[in-house]
Amino acid sequence: MSGELAQFLLSGLTVGSIYALVALGFAIIYNASHVINFAQGEFVMIGGMATVSLLGAGLPLALAAALAVALAALIGLALARFAVQPARGASVVTLIIITIGAAILLRGLAALVWDKRIHALPAFSGDAPIAVAGATLAPQSLWVIGVTALIVCALWAFFNRTLNGKAILAVSHNRLAAQLMGISVRRVLLVSFALSAALGALAGILVAPITFTSWDVGVMLGLKGFAAAILGGMGSGPGAVLGGLVLGLLESLGAGYLSSAYKDAIAFIVMLAVLMLMPGGLLGARAAERV
């Protein structure tokens, strides 16, 4: 039954790549501010819904997608500037609650501005399934996996080769020291929110042909992405990607070989086990508590 296994692996990889993209968004903001941004799922929704409505207005897909990503980045900036930054003195828990409030607001606005129906984007390169090792794969899955891989490379380059990226890393390691070195923590926060909003929107556009999109699609994707980020180690880029892929594969193999009724339970049990044995996640920073 190698065809069966190949099918489960391919499904898992596709879903896992989606989770990985969402998880990356969580990681970037967490690095810059130690805030877990629960509005991350809403950026995914905004990406998908905005593209659908721009496409409906007659724009070509590529332009609609680019504008949707830009719109999400702007909303991310606004969220950082008008909601998170004014409360920067507050505790992290307060900031997290602010992001939950922002998520509810964005979802409500989406239901008003657009509608409450489910929409589909056309697949970027057709629907004809591709046969791989006795299994089949939708062309859109290749887009998801491929773009995820590209983004991971681009992010690596950004964080290791550019000043802005290094600034974000510096802030994540030691905020005070970074500030003393002349890094604007304010700007880092803004950049990181815009970046992860854009990432989320991109994920939302990529997956819309597979999963469809609607005003409330961000809730579940946000939660799964959060789980993936935790599993991989909060704040770790490679960890987020690994966490996403592992979660996707666990779900698919769990549904395939055990029972689909316990699919989510299996994924979360493994996650709990990992966290008990490795509290920092798979690739998380070994917590070095400063006293």
């Binding site: 039954m1 069966e4 099918q7 489960f8 391919l10 499904s11 898992g12 596709t14 879903v15 989606i18 409450k116 129906r117 489910i118 929409h119 589909a120 056309p122 629907d127 399934p129 089949t136 794969l137 939708a138 997956v207 597979i210 999963t211 469809f212 609607s214 699609v217 809730v219 579940m220 994707l221 939660l223 799964k224 779900e251 698919s252 193999l253 549904a255 395939g256 689909s260 009724a261 699919k263 989510d264």
Partner: protein, 378 residues
Amino acid sequence: MNLRTWFAAALLAATAAVQAQAPIRIGSFLSVTGPAAFLGDPEQKTLELYVERINAAGGVLGRKLELIAYDSGGDAEKARTFAKRLIEQDRVDVIVGGSTTGETMAVVPLVEAAGMPFISLAGAVVIVEPVKKWVFKTPHTDRMACDKIFVDMKARGFSKAALISGSGGFDKSMRAQCLGVAKNHGIAIDADETYGAGDTDMTAQLTKIRNAPGVQAVLNAGFGQGPAIVTKNYKQLGIAQPLYQSHGVASKQFIQLAGDAAEGVRLPAAALLVAETLPDSDPQKKVVVDYKRAYEARFKQDVSTFGGHAYDGLMLAVEAMKKAGSADKARVRDALEQIRGYMGTAGVVNMSAQDHMGLDLTAFRMLEVRKGDWALVQ
């Protein structure tokens, strides 16, 4: 005729004259907002539209209708409060409402105690089984959808089917009903898979179904985007067996979402969806076409079966009042129970003391997606 009879007759005439002034009060509580708004919104619009039309045509028994409707927002607790208000303060003559099963069941004890005829617009079998003296309902049940699908499978010579269902309330209820009635039709359910509410990929479950030996057809009991994803994954995996969907996705939106993958998918649906394509000889055609045109002309949006349930509810209440010759609650109830051969948007209604829904399998039409549109399966 003696003096006493004359006196009684005069009194009757006098009260009738007074009643002629007072409107007949139709009470309603619907989920116009909230998660079940897609049910309550067309229901409310339909009630308003037809109360207006009936009044324009002279009302019922020479009296106007007055609609008193509350928005229960899908909340059973609110539904109870509003039902109480309808019974005690508004003193309505009949209640037509209850978009969801939860709201309906919360109100049942109230109407039973008050002796208020109540026509529910919600789906589940529990509303009319066991029979409750004052409670009726208009929509078909999920069990009937299962029956309809299994009858079609049998007609195509299938005896082994697989089931894949979501985890929502509708999905679970339909799954249980289908598992329950499959045996009656000689269909064995050989695989029973589920998926979660926000799941984005069902290929793992479908691969299992594909590898289950001897499965001849697959039934997806589901609601929302899940069935569209199942349909796409089904096509992607190249599964050759016919796929059946439930009446839960019987809308154009399903075809739009699933695209080409929807070709050949069959599902049971109310005649309203294919109103214009019904043959002219179909006895239901006039009712559904008239309702569809009236609704779409007024509200500029596609008609839905849910609005049709409200139409049926209101018309059954009116029919019962005409039959009873009054709006007296007990007499309206008895008349409701005796309605036979009434043609509504959901099908022919034959009420009885044992059946407070009165629909049979002819209420559902088996549809197949052909060239991106619904086609009737003969």
